[in-house]
C-alpha cells in the first residue's frame, strides 16, 4: 500500500502539473455605464430598450415622403426596395404555398417593436442612425397605419408600441427540425 506524499511535495506537484485554467483570466476591462448606453440600441417585444418620445402616422407622413419614399415608393408598396405595405391575402397565411405573395409588415411581421428596432438601427440606407426617436416613432406609426394596424391618430410610444397586436403574430412557431430520419 502506498504512503501518501509529504504535504510539501504534494502542493508543489499540484502547482506545477495540476493547475488548470483559472476561473477567470481578468482580461478585458469593466464597461462603463455610458459606454453601454452609447451602443445599446436594441428594442425587445416587451418594450425594453424603447426610448422616450412619440409620434403618430400624421406626423410620420412627411418624414416618410422625404426620407423613405425614394426607395420604398410613395405609399410603401411601389419599391424599388422591398414593399412594406399590404394586407393581402386577407384570408389565411398561404405564404408557404405561394411564392408570388409579398411579405409585408401588415401580413407577415409578428412584432411591432421590430419596426422601431430596425428603422432606428439601419434606415435610411444612405444615412443609418440619423433619425431622432420622435421621427422613428412617427415612421413606425405611419407604416402601421398604412398596413391598417392602427389609426392615423394613434400615439405610438414606449408604452403603446409593445401592445400593438400584429395580424400574423400567432402564425410563428419555433423550429421543430431535430435531424434524424424525418424530413421536416
Amino acid at each position: 500500500m502506498r504512503r501518501s506524499l509529504p504535504l510539501g511535495i504534494a502542493v508543489a506537484l499540484v502547482a506545477t502539473l495540476g493547475s488548470g485554467p483559472p476561473a477567470r483570466f481578468g482580461f478585458g476591462r469593466p464597461a462603463r455605464a455610458d459606454e453601454i448606453a452609447a451602443w445599446n440600441i436594441s428594442v425587445r417585444p416587451d418594450g425594453k430598450g424603447l426610448p422616450p418620445g412619440s409620434g403618430t402616422a400624421r406626423d410620420g407622413a412627411a418624414i416618410y415622403a422625404s426620407r423613405c419614399a425614394s426607395c420604398h415608393g410613395a405609399t410603401g408598396r411601389e419599391g424599388p426596395a422591398d414593399p412594406m405595405v399590404g394586407r393581402e391575402p386577407r384570408v389565411g397565411f398561404p405564404f408557404g404555398r405561394d411564392p408570388t405573395l409579398v411579405r409585408t409588415i401588415g401580413n407577415y411581421w409578428p412584432y411591432a417593436t421590430t419596426l422601431y428596432d430596425y428603422i432606428d438601427r439601419a434606415m435610411p440606407l444612405s444615412s443609418p442612425g440619423s433619425l431622432a426617436p420622435n421621427e422613428v416613432y412617427s415612421l413606425v406609426a405611419y407604416l402601421l397605419w398604412r398596413n391598417e394596424v392602427i389609426t392615423d391618430t394613434a400615439l405610438v410610444d414606449a408604452r403603446t408600441l409593445p401592445r400593438v397586436a400584429m395580424p400574423a403574430r400567432s402564425r410563428f412557431v419555433i423550429d421543430n427540425r431535430r435531424g434524424g430520419r424525418e424530413v421536416r
Binding site: 482580461f27 478585458g28 453601454i36 428594442v43 397565411f93 409588415i105 443609418p128 402564425r171 423550429d175 435531424g179
Partner: protein, 406 residues
C-alpha cells in the same frame, strides 16, 4: 514566343553586360512573363506577397452592391478549404472599415461584470482553430424553383465556403463576464451600417460558438468580419454576425428584422418556422457540372462537396443512372463535423445520356431529401434551406447541364 517580350529580353541581356552584376540580377522574368522554355531563363524574383498564376482567374459572381451577395466558384476549387479571397459574401449594408486598434467588443446584459474586450485581449485568451463551413440559408434557390439547365455549381450553391477559423470560445468569454442564471438568449450585433443583429440561444455559446479573428491562418478578411466575428458552427450564415461589437445577454429573444421578417420559413400548414438555425445535410457534385463538356467517353472522377450543420457526414451516395441505383462515394479525410467534406466517385461514361446525382447522410441519420420530398414538407413559397438532391444531365455530346426539371 511573343516577339515584343523576346526583344525586351535581348535588351535586358545587353544592358546586363554593360552595367554589371546589379543589373544582371534583373534579367530574370518579371511576374507574369511566360517564356517558351522556363528552364532556359531564371524565374521571377522573390516577392513579399504571392500571387495566383496569371493563368488562373477564379472569381466570385457578384449580385448587388451593398445589400447583395457574391458566390464562391465551387467548380474551380479542390479539397475543402476556400481561399479567403473567394469566400462567399452576403452583407446587409456593405463592408465596414474597422481600425483594429480602436476595435471593442462589449458584453453586457444579464452578466455579473459588463466588460469591454479589445482585440489584443481577445487574442490573449486560449485559442482554438477549427474548420467549419458557412452557408447562407438562402443558398440553393436555383435548385428549388425557376429551374433552368444553364446554371453552374457557383450560381446554384456558391453561397457556401469553408475556412479554418481561429478564435476564442464564446464560453470562455461568458465565464469571464459571469453570465447570470436565467439567461437564455444573447443578441449578437455587428459594427456595419445595418448594425446587423441576431438573437442566439445561449446553449450555442456553451456548445461551440467562437469569437473568431483568424481565417485560414491570417486575420479575417474584411468581407468575413474583420477584425472579429461570431461563428456559430453549422448554423445559417446570417447568425454568424460579422464585425461583432456588442453581445447582450438576455432571458428572451429580441425579434430583430432578420429573425422575423427575414430568415423565417412559412410552411404549407399556415405557420412560419422561426429560428431555423441549423443547415441540414446537403451535397452537390461540382464535377462534371455546367458549363463543362466531357470531351470523350471513358473514365471520369465525379467529385463534389457534402456537409451537415448537425455534425459529420457519414455517407455520400452517387447515382449515375438518374437515381435508380446508388453506390457509396469515397469520402476524403479528414471528415470533420460541420465542415465541407470532399467526395469522389470513379465513373466510366459509355456515352449515353444520363443524370448524375449525389445524396448525403449525416451522423443523425438524416438523408438529403429529393426535391419532391422537400417541397412536400416546405411548400413552394419557402425562401431558405434548399438542401434537396441536385442532378446534372450529361448529354450524348458530352455537354453537362443542371438536371432538375419540373
Amino acid at each position: 514566343m511573343d516577339p515584343v517580350r523576346m526583344s525586351r529580353r535581348h535588351l535586358f541581356t545587353a544592358a546586363a553586360g554593360a552595367v554589371g552584376v546589379a543589373v544582371l540580377h534583373r534579367t530574370g522574368l518579371t511576374q507574369g512573363e511566360v517564356p517558351a522554355d522556363p528552364t532556359k531563363v531564371p524565374g521571377h524574383p522573390l516577392s513579399e506577397l504571392g500571387q495566383r498564376s496569371p493563368f488562373e482567374r477564379p472569381h466570385r459572381v457578384v449580385g448587388g452592391a451593398y445589400q447583395g451577395a457574391s458566390l464562391t466558384p465551387l467548380q474551380e476549387l479542390f479539397g475543402i478549404v476556400t481561399p479567403a479571397d473567394l469566400h462567399y459574401e452576403r452583407h446587409h449594408a456593405g463592408v465596414p472599415s474597422i481600425d483594429p486598434h480602436h476595435y471593442k467588443l462589449l458584453i453586457h446584459g444579464m452578466v455579473e461584470r459588463p466588460t469591454i474586450f479589445d482585440l489584443e485581449s481577445l487574442r490573449r485568451f486560449p485559442a482554438v482553430s477549427r474548420l467549419h463551413f458557412l452557408e447562407c440559408s438562402g443558398n440553393g434557390a436555383p435548385a428549388y424553383r425557376n429551374l433552368r439547365p444553364d446554371v453552374s455549381p457557383q450560381q446554384i450553391d456558391g453561397l457556401t465556403s469553408t475556412s479554418e477559423w481561429t478564435g476564442v470560445p464564446l464560453a470562455t468569454l461568458f465565464r469571464e463576464v459571469g453570465v447570470r442564471s436565467g439567461a437564455k438568449w444573447f443578441l449578437a450585433e455587428g459594427e456595419d451600417a445595418a448594425v446587423m443583429a441576431r438573437s442566439i440561444p445561449i446553449g450555442k455559446a456553451w456548445d461551440d460558438a467562437l469569437i473568431a479573428y483568424g481565417q485560414n491562418g491570417e486575420p479575417l478578411r474584411p468581407e468575413q468580419g474583420y477584425p472579429a466575428r461570431l461563428l456559430v458552427p453549422g448554423w445559417e450564415g446570417s447568425a454568424n454576425v460579422k464585425w461583432i461589437r456588442r453581445i447582450e445577454v438576455a432571458d428572451q429573444p429580441f425579434m430583430t428584422r432578420e429573425e422575423t421578417s427575414k430568415y423565417t420559413d412559412p410552411l404549407p400548414n399556415g405557420t412560419a418556422r422561426q429560428f431555423s438555425f441549423t443547415m441540414d445535410a446537403k451535397s452537390l457534385i461540382t464535377f462534371p457540372a455546367f458549363p463543362v463538356t466531357l470531351p470523350e467517353r471513358g473514365w471520369w472522377e465525379i467529385s463534389g462537396l457534402a456537409w451537415s450543420g448537425r455534425g459529420r457526414v457519414t455517407r455520400v451516395e452517387v447515382s449515375t443512372d438518374a437515381g435508380r441505383g446508388w453506390a457509396p462515394a469515397e469520402l476524403q479525410g479528414p471528415v470533420l463535423p460541420k465542415c465541407h467534406t470532399r467526395f469522389r466517385f470513379l465513373w466510366r461514361w459509355e456515352g449515353a445520356e444520363t443524370l448524375l446525382m449525389s445524396r448525403a447522410t449525416d451522423e443523425t441519420g438524416y438523408v438529403q431529401p429529393t426535391l419532391a420530398e422537400l417541397r412536400n414538407v416546405r411548400g413552394s413559397g419557402t425562401a431558405y434551406h434548399f438542401n434537396n438532391i441536385r442532378a446534372w444531365r450529361v448529354r450524348r455530346d458530352g455537354r453537362v447541364f443542371f438536371g432538375l426539371e419540373e
